[in-house]
């Protein structure tokens, strides 16, 4: 029973991880950029939800409609006018570049909002649901479901809409897509915008459960990293699978190895995955 509860806890957590990893994975896959600032972007999304709740009483799950477009715009502009200038540079340069962006964004948030933890309260019922001996907190259930739902939404957008299919085309073969008349810079900007929008959405969902502070960003980034590699690069459904798997692995690790080793276990699983199946759970070989 304890085991079932721990696995359930992990799945609920994993739903949130999925939302965090989806955008990160998309940007990595299409632009070949690891966006180190993703963790801080998630925190920014959390602040949008927090202030919308604080000053307008908005439910954090609805704040998604606010944070998503806002961060999409920011991401679009950022990519179009800044990141585009280093996009062709080696991995090292783009990594350090987004690291610098992360330092700026994070420190700005500390300056504006302080590092104090802020928490949205009183929105969801505090009495958990019971299924036999299993307990299921309402807020976590809703947020996890929303996380997976939004990730699936992104997946269908990529595969059904015109723009989405152009993004997939650029990811698979940039040169050919260019020849077919796809404007790659616009696709890049849109993709980066979508990546940050997903971060904003994940931030809102997290703000419903966890307290918000710029100090959370490193942890969020770590989650996105691991979930993304576990699931397979650039694949949104892979990110969902990776997120759920990571949630369960962390929870089981905490149970069997010790509470302080949850992230260590996840990191070790990540390394094993890199050595044995670098394309991830759902990725296809040759895409990295």
């Amino acid at each position: 029973m304890q085991l079932a509860q721990v696995i359930l806890n992990g799945l609920l957590l994993g739903g949130l991880y999925a939302a965090m990893a989806a955008g990160f994975s998309l940007v990595w896959g299409v632009l070949n950029i690891i966006n180190i600032a993703q963790g801080s972007a998630v925190v920014l999304g959390s602040y949008v939800a927090y202030f919308a709740w604080r000053y307008a009483g908005l439910n954090p799950l609805l704040a998604v409609a606010l944070a998503g477009p806002l961060l999409f715009g920011a991401g679009w502009v950022l990519q179009r006018f800044l990141i585009q200038r280093v996009i062709a540079a080696p991995v090292l340069i783009t990594l350090v570049f987004t690291f610098g962006m992360d330092l700026i964004l994070n420190n700005t948030m500390i300056s504006l909002f302080t590092a104090d933890y802020r928490k949205i309260e009183g929105v969801f019922p505090t009495v958990p649901l019971h299924f036999g001996a299993l307990t299921l907190p309402v807020d976590r259930l809703l947020a996890a479901a929303a996380g997976i739902g939004v990730a699936f939404g992104l997946h269908f957008y990529l595969h059904r809409s015109r723009l989405g299919r152009a993004i997939v085309a650029v990811r698979m073969d940039r040169q050919t897509a260019e020849l077919m008349g796809v404007r790659v810079e616009i696709i890049y900007a849109t993709t980066f915008g979508l990546g940050l929008a997903m971060a904003g959405v994940a931030g809102c969902l997290l703000a419903a459960i966890f307290p918000t502070s710029p100090l959370n960003s490193a942890y969020y980034l770590h989650i996105a990293f691991v979930a993304c590699v576990l699931g397979g690069l650039g694949s949104v459904l892979g990110a969902v699978a990776g997120g759920l798997l990571l949630g369960v692995v962390e929870s089981l690790g905490a149970l069997f190895v010790g509470a302080e080793y949850g992230t260590t276990v996840a990191a070790v699983v990540l390394l094993l995955m890199l050595f044995t199946r670098p394309q991830g759970l759902l990725g296809r070989a040759g895409y990295e």
Binding site: I34, P90, L92, L95, F99, N106, I110, L274
Partner: protein, 312 residues
């Protein structure tokens, strides 16, 4: 004499003079001593990162992992009564011994995958160090035996040791670059598949480079531990220990012998200026610096100067 030989002798002579002279010149200026020590430690990390990141072209974020490992190995040994010199050697050995299997494993990955895997090494070591509290003190940290004496004596001592280590690391970089190993690494950086085609055993050479790079990083951690006198996992496994050397090398010039020297000096100076003048935006200031650097001077200071000279 070849220009290479002259450069090597110049590094050794100027470095030796600096080791002998600077502690005397700066005797009344403990704060400048501290800055030069910081510079030296950063230079050690930058020059050793350059072996993997610059010569071989693998974007390693594992520098901080070896730095932290070295700090802990030395601190634990000194707590058990081991002489500091032996502790430094042991720290270097520990770094090399860890680097061999890890390097052999992660160096099979490329690009972002390699970067992520190397970054995870620090995360794992940090959590293991925090968790193994019987040995390491865990989150309570560890105080280095014999620390807490006269800070002026300690400052001059730390300055001497770290400068000497920095000179050795720069010389090590030069030796590697001019050796057969360096030639092999060059081939790997330019085209690994082609390198294998002309008979370069890429996997072995990359692992050598990784090991050689991790040893000075670990010794730097050991020197740092003795200098500051107190270490805890969040301090010594800070990801900044991996990032700052990279920024320094990017500033100076990737893959050059003197690039780390120039870059580390500029970095320490800029960081000090930002830190003094901006109360609580120093991390953000560093971010602005990084972004501007990569937009304006992507090749680094030294290569930019050199190319301007050749053009004119």
């Amino acid at each position: 004499m070849t220009s290479r030989g002259r450069l090597a002798i110049a590094i050794a002579v100027i470095g030796g003079l600096a080791c002998a002279g600077l502690p005397l010149i700066l005797a009344g200026e403990p704060y400048l001593m501290r800055l030069v020590t910081m510079f030296s430690l950063l230079l050690v990390l930058a020059a050793s990162w350059n072996i993997v990141g610059g010569f071989t072209g693998y974007p390693s974020f594992a520098t901080g992992a070896f730095f932290g490992l070295g700090a802990y190995v030395a601190a634990i040994l000194q707590a058990k009564g081991v002489d500091w010199r032996l502790a430094l050697v042991a720290a270097g050995l520990a770094g090399g011994i860890l680097a061999a299997p890890v390097g052999y494993g992660v160096l099979r990955l490329r690009g972002h995958y390699f970067a992520v895997a190397s970054l995870m090494l620090g995360t794992i070591l940090k959590e293991l160090t925090t968790g193994w509290s019987d040995l390491t003190g865990g989150g309570m940290g560890l105080t280095i035996a014999g620390a807490g004496g006269d800070p002026e004596v300690l400052a001059s001592f730390a300055l001497r040791v770290s400068l000497a280590l920095a000179v050795l690391t720069v010389l090590l970089g030069a030796a590697i670059k001019w050796s057969r190993l360096g030639f092999g690494l060059d081939c790997i950086r330019m085209n690994e598949t082609a390198a294998a085609g002309i008979g370069v055993d890429a996997q072995r050479l990359k692992t050598y480079a990784f090991i050689l790079s991790s040893i000075p990083s670990a010794v730097a951690g050991a020197v740092y531990a003795g200098w500051i006198g107190y270490i805890d996992p969040t301090d010594v496994y800070d990801v900044m220990w991996s990032v700052k050397p990279i920024v320094a090398v990017l500033l100076g010039g990737v893959g050059t012998i003197l690039g780390p020297v120039v870059g580390a000096a500029i970095f320490v100076a800029l960081e000090e200026i930002v830190w003094r003048n901006v109360l609580s935006f120093s991390a953000g200031g560093l971010g602005v610096l990084i972004v501007l650097l990569l937009l304006v001077l992507p090749a680094g200071v030294l290569p930019s100067l050199v190319s301007r000279k050749t053009r004119s």
